[in-house]
């Protein structure tokens, strides 16, 4: 069971919002880079986010570059899951590969500072502040498998090959 506070973001949060190009040189220093995560969308986020909090966004979260540093620094910031209406393709794949949880559902009724409780097993998000419940889309099977193995690298180390089909 995951529990935390909501940081709300709009549609089309790009990898440039998450991991700005001007900080390209910090890609080799992810803990330092994480201090700037989402800086161009919300300058307070990186300094105020608490371990376990949720990023809640509109549609097409993570569009843009293939930089895996984007999900990496979200994960390093302590966020337990990103909840959005939809995700851009490469970001989605990257997040699963590195073990950042992404959940898809209608996020219109979730507001900043709401307290959420997420049960990954049942697929239910409880909004403790608003006393409502939202069901999220089940994760694709391949994603569940990769998550269970601890990401793609661990999956390959375990089987010496892909064991997904």
């Amino acid at each position: 069971m995951l529990k935390g506070k909501v940081w709300k973001f709009p549609d089309n949060i790009s990898t440039d919002h998450i991991a700005p190009g001007r900080l390209f040189h910090l890609r080799s220093n992810l803990p330092e880079f994480a201090k700037h995560v989402l800086e161009d969308a919300d300058p307070d986020f990186a300094s105020k986010v608490q371990k376990g909090d949720f990023i809640v966004a509109g549609s097409n979260f993570g569009l843009g570059s293939s930089r895996e540093h984007a999900p990496q620094i979200i994960k390093l910031s302590g966020v337990s899951a990103v909840i959005a209406k939809s995700f851009a393709r490469i970001f989605y794949r990257n997040a699963i590969n590195i073990g950042l949880l992404l959940l898809e559902c209608n996020t219109d009724e979730i507001d900043a500072q709401d307290e959420l409780e997420v049960d990954v097993r049942t697929g239910v998000i409880k909004n403790l502040t608003k006393k409502t419940e939202i069901t999220f889309k089940p994760l694709p099977e391949v994603m569940i498998k990769l998550q269970q193995d601890g990401g793609l690298i661990e999956h390959i180390k375990k089987y010496g090959d892909f064991k997904l089909t």
């Binding site: 990257n94 590195i98 690298i153 892909f162």
Partner: protein
């Protein structure tokens, strides 16, 4: 039942034929990384405990995003890449050689192949009839090590473009028009497959521009059948033997067919801060520009520079505008030198920078000041993209960009072309 181009190419790389929606393990022919994603690919690769890429000669490491290096951290990352290439036999394309996507189509990718690249614009090679898709560092590390990857075979949208462009309209305008129509997530997870009379008569350079920006609609790939244009392009690169026939099947199943009449397209501009925020250039002549960038994997080819110089020849760059030009590769740079393009551009006031990504990724060579406006031929205008979240980025064809550099504001070049 016939196959889409995506189904056809992927099926040639799997144990048994696949169709859209299938999950498969596919052989990968070529992998690529650049200096923003390569160092992480290398560290993930090393975690696998595998010494060398499955096929070192076909793993290409490009130093193009930040070269010549503006910072010691990046210089160190470049060293990691050079060292890995030396140790494993992987191929290094060092600074000055050009942008990875241009280099991939010039030298490395063949029709019918699968390319996994740790850069979102890897889809550029789709114009060669290759299934080319962008992935993250970890995916590319594994694809390089094992020579395969997992793929969900995408559903395809057929983009049928027929008719002739009006004067002053180019492939970039068509792609901005399409993205404006379907949205920045209008094709998420899908493959765009381009066909129609406009596409058939289009140069490879223009096809690369379309394929390059498929990802800006969210697509996994932007695919083209191969034809005599493909053959001649490969021949120009002295590799016509790499040609392969990749054709559309008439009875393939497409999730959607989008018909576009080329005559409906006019010079277009994407406004800040998303690529689908598209308006006709003629409506934007109140926007003054501080910087114009002509270059990038989208529009840094010789055809783009020829077009730009045609407009620049007439007069000097506006005194309030900085014009930056980056040829997409060394080959493009050499050709531009031979044709006198670099001389004219320099004379009229452009700053020519080395082949590479230039200011597009916001690392060096043209970072915007607070509130400044840049009109660029690149593919992205996200907030902060060019190194400053206070900058405003507009995207256009090289023709609109060059004419705007002369005028000092966003200008539709139709009137003078």
């Amino acid at each position: 039942m016939g196959q889409t181009l995506a189904e056809k190419i992927i099926s040639a790389h799997t144990e048994k034929p696949v169709k859209a929606g299938d999950l498969c393990i596919a052989n990968v022919d070529v992998t690529a990384v650049q200096d923003g994603t390569g160092p992480l690919t290398i560290s993930e690769f090393k975690k696998l405990g595998i010494d060398k890429p499955k096929n070192p000669q076909r793993m290409i490491l490009f130093i193009d995003h930040a070269t010549p290096s503006p910072r010691k951290e990046l210089s160190n990352s470049h060293m990691v890449m050079r060292q890995f290439a030396k140790e494993t036999g992987a191929v290094l394309s060092d600074g000055g050689q050009g942008v990875c996507h241009q280099r991939l189509v010039e030298q490395y990718v063949k029709p019918g192949e699968i390319l996994c690249g740790a850069d979102s614009h890897t889809c550029t090679s789709g114009a060669l009839g290759a299934f080319a898709t962008g992935m993250g560092s970890t995916d590319v590390a594994v694809a390089s090590a094992l020579g395969k990857t997992w793929l969900k075979v995408p559903q395809s949208y057929k983009i049928c473009v027929n008719g002739f462009f009006r004067k002053g309209v180019f492939a970039k305008d068509l792609m901005l028009y399409l993205i404006g129509k379907i949205g920045a997530d209008g094709a998420t997870y899908k493959a765009l497959e381009f066909c129609g009379s406009t596409i058939e008569s289009m140069s490879m350079s223009d096809r690369f521009t379309l394929a390059n920006m498929a990802v800006e609609a969210g697509a996994k790939a932007g695919l083209f059948a191969t034809d005599d244009k493909t053959y001649n392009f490969l021949k120009m690169q002295k590799r016509e033997f790499d040609f392969k026939n990749i054709e559309f099947d008439k009875d393939a199943e497409y999730e959607k067919v989008i018909e576009i009449n080329a005559e409906d397209v006019e010079p277009m501009v994407a406004c800040p801060h998303t690529v689908d925020n598209v308006k006709p250039a003629r409506e934007l002549n109140h926007i003054k520009v501080n910087q114009v960038f002509i270059g990038s994997c989208t529009n840094g080819r010789i055809e783009d520079l020829r077009l730009a110089v045609k407009l620049l020849k007439r007069q000097h760059v506006h005194p309030d505008v900085r014009l930056i030009v980056a040829p997409a590769s060394k080959a493009v740079m050499m050709q531009a030198l031979r044709e006198g393009i670099i001389e004219i551009m320099t004379y009229v006031g452009a700053q020519i920078i080395p082949p590479g990504c230039g200011p597009c990724v916001g690392v060096h060579a043209g970072i915007l000041g607070d509130g400044e406006v840049c009109l660029s031929t690149q593919n992205r205008n996200f907030k902060g993209r060019m190194g400053n979240p206070e900058g405003q980025i507009y995207l256009s064809s090289p023709a609109v960009a060059a004419y705007s550099a002369v005028c000092g504001y966003i200008a539709d070049p139709t009137e003078i072309l």
